[in-house]
Symmetry: C2
Subunit: 454 residues, 2 copies
């Protein structure tokens, strides 16, 4: 019998997060205070984030950050996650490539997001914080933080992008089951939300806007902090448990990846699977390719611009050096809600700039076509976000078919699609469409960032 | 760190199914031909079922039936499933009991049903069958058979109980993703469906009716057989991979269950977790208690009658000796669609009669209360069916709290509830209700079985 899954016992759950900042040849440029344009220090972030997260955010020295035992114990509910050889997908494609995927869909919240949610909720509890606020797009981060806060006895308020709130009612129910309070964004409960709704009462929301609302609630509420599910350095770092496990599991499989692929919204699941392998490119001369799969309709890496921009729509965050479509960018209502974000994480942007990674854009319909093939071959219905990684994987595997090369491809299955069946319905019924963004619109959106760099 | 999960490698996937019929002190009474009242032989079942399944159905001799390697290879996508210690549930209850659960929710279809679906689809393929028909209640069996038939290149037609078809649109989409054709039942596509709709155009369906429709399609279509997801002996036997793995995993945990619990519709997931342990009660003098948790509104074991009855509403099946509420029983529209069936499997009914197992009934609201506590503590949102097992487990764990006994309780988490969030919504919103069945109504329904035993 061919070995299908490569498993690790709980004792192999990583003991440290890998902080790629410490080994990057070019360190990320500093975060800037929007008014003074001075580089931020960790204490500048304390009003918004938990202290430990703020310290981790700007830590460029320590390559390995210990994972608290309480967090590892919570990870044990679902980690180590399986590494799976996609034999049946290979067969369906007729490719000589060896395709592996790391199955992060097995977490309680159904995606990789819990890896950072548990860490952030734990640090909050340790600091005496009683409330966390956050935003959520697809609802995967919101579900994860709802569960994580419940585990550590903290209250949780979630601003959910309105289009997702409507498209994904089951995600709402999941957050409710885990005990969180959920508000569709933009809402009238914050100044940021009011401003947007006043300009356009029919605004269906974006991650950028929901972030503004969650931050506003955090800074205006005693003993309350904000938790972000992607983009930031500490979030990406928490996700490295994925790649650290995968590294050991690829060893069990007797292979090393030629290509590592993940979908890309703000960069958290990509960082998680990629950074531990990327360190061997940086330090040991390995030549693995790292491919970020982003939506055609939200092309920050393939068509965005590297410059300082706000992380949110209302301009409440520090200025971040990143590939951006402009903080005023209005992403199309694609079903992959978790990828509807205007910017790429700071570390990722620097790595992209320095040629350590590449990016491809995927049409919505192609992503679902890939997702259905994956479901029918490997049995897991993927989240719409993860469908992008699968589509990019299939492209690479078919290139191998042409060249006859038996490359080893590893992708991250960031989450399952059980709660996204409405999106699949839309695909099967022929109602789904592709969304493009014209050069003119793009230039107009990017100008909102350009204006900050003058 | 406390060990949370007890894992087995793929090499430990069972090589044989356990056929409890071979070791039962009192063998099940024979199936009877409805017209002649003569005991059935396997060949009498060949028009409906695959030959191998029919042979297994009436096999009372062989305790161990080899599992085909192709089936084991498919099991490797998700098996061995984890055995998990529910530390956090124990803590929330303040019980000295040790609670374990077998997590069958990790299968591609989200429940234990795939264990039999893969076997049945394989046997069909081997026999040259090109089409399988079936019924589904909650949609878990339909989803499982859709996936299994896709794996083995067979077409699949599913009759889905109308109330579930409406309550669980995501289940439909899952079956569609796996390539099956789905019809709400009762339908006008069969004589059985037409008869029911003529009597009551608003009939919202039942498993009994959907079975009638699926059998009718199978016997009237060339090269087409029928596959059932529960009740029958061979189906229950395929599920024993659950308990066989759990037995090894409990050994890893250094414990042996005092109590084994599962929810109960027709009996398949109960059989799966229970029979391997029950053989030690029968053969080795172990004293484990086996508790079936059934819905208060569908109380076949607690208030049904042991006698011959049809397995379906229209009376197309053989006469089966079982605990039944009468084949005319109309189950209430509870969310646990998989438990809405009038009878208990033949083997299970005999074991119940002989005192090897016991049963409890659970109110719908209590089942969801238990499910939410489980989600908030153990992180897995359980299927409405599985909530019944959790409620029964909590009852036993709280008894331990009163007596101070540290009993070892093992329950089967038959499936997850990601696709049932509408049911949770109904619970949270206060719209959900309990359903009772009066003694008078029950007597009237059971009369439909009594009339067959005169």
């Amino acid at each position: 019998m061919k070995q299908k899954k490569f498993l690790l016992p709980e004792s192999e759950i990583p003991t440290h997060y890998f902080n790629i900042q410490a080994v990057m040849p070019n360190k990320p440029m500093p975060f800037l205070h929007p008014a003074t344009r001075q580089p931020l220090k960790p204490e500048d972030l304390y009003p918004i984030f938990c202290k430990e997260c703020a310290d981790q955010e700007l830590n460029q020295k320590d390559a390995w950050i210990p994972i608290p035992e309480e967090v590892r114990q919570q990870y044990a509910s679902y980690r180590c996650t399986p590494l799976v050889r996609a034999y049946e997908l290979e067969k369906a494609l007729g490719t000589p490539a060896h395709i592996y995927f790391k199955n992060e869909s097995v977490s309680p919240a159904g995606s990789h997001k819990l890896n950072s949610a548990l860490a952030q909720a734990y640090y909050a509890k340790e600091q005496g914080v009683t409330n966390l606020t956050t935003e959520t797009g697809a609802g995967q981060w919101g579900g994860a933080l709802s569960y994580a806060t419940k585990k550590f006895g903290i209250d949780c308020a979630v601003y959910m992008v309105k289009v997702s709130y409507e498209q994904k009612p089951y995600r709402r129910s999941i957050m409710q089951t885990f005990g969180a309070a959920i508000t569709p964004s933009p809402s009238m409960s914050t100044r940021a939300g009011k401003d947007i709704l006043t300009r356009n009462p029919n605004d269906r929301g974006s991650l950028g806007c929901a972030i503004s609302e969650a931050i506003e609630l955090a800074v205006s509420t005693p003993n309350c902090k904000y938790a972000l599910g992607s983009v930031l350095n500490h979030v990406c770092m928490h996700q490295t448990v994925i790649g650290l496990e995968a590294e050991k599991q690829m060893e069990l499989a007797g292979e090393y990846p030629d290509i590592v692929i993940a979908c890309f919204g703000g960069g958290s699941n990509f960082s998680g699977i990629a950074f531990p392998f990327m360190r061997h490119n940086i330090l040991d001369g390995k030549k693995t390719r790292f491919i970020a799969a982003e939506p055609y309709s939200c092309p920050k890496l393939t068509r965005g611009k590297f410059e300082y921009d706000f992380g949110d729509e209302a301009g409440m965050t520090p200025l971040l050096p990143m590939f951006t479509l402009g903080h005023s960018f209005k992403p199309a209502s694609i079903h992959a809600g978790g990828l509807r974000y205007h910017g790429a994480g700071v570390i990722l942007s620097q790595l992209m700039k320095d040629g350590y990674m590449e990016a491809v854009d995927i049409e919505q319909m192609d992503s679902f076509k890939a997702g259905v093939l994956f479901a029918q071959t490997e049995g897991i219905i993927p989240a719409p976000e993860s469908c992008h990684a699968i589509a990019a994987t299939i492209t690479e595997a078919l290139k191998c078919k042409e060249t006859g090369e038996a490359k080893t491809i590893l992708f991250n299955l960031s989450g399952h699609g059980f709660v996204d069946m409405g999106a699949y319905d839309s695909y099967f019924s022929g109602e789904m469409q592709n969304y493009h963004v014209s050069d003119e619109d793009l230039a107009r959106f990017i100008k909102s960032a350009d204006d900050l760099n003058k």
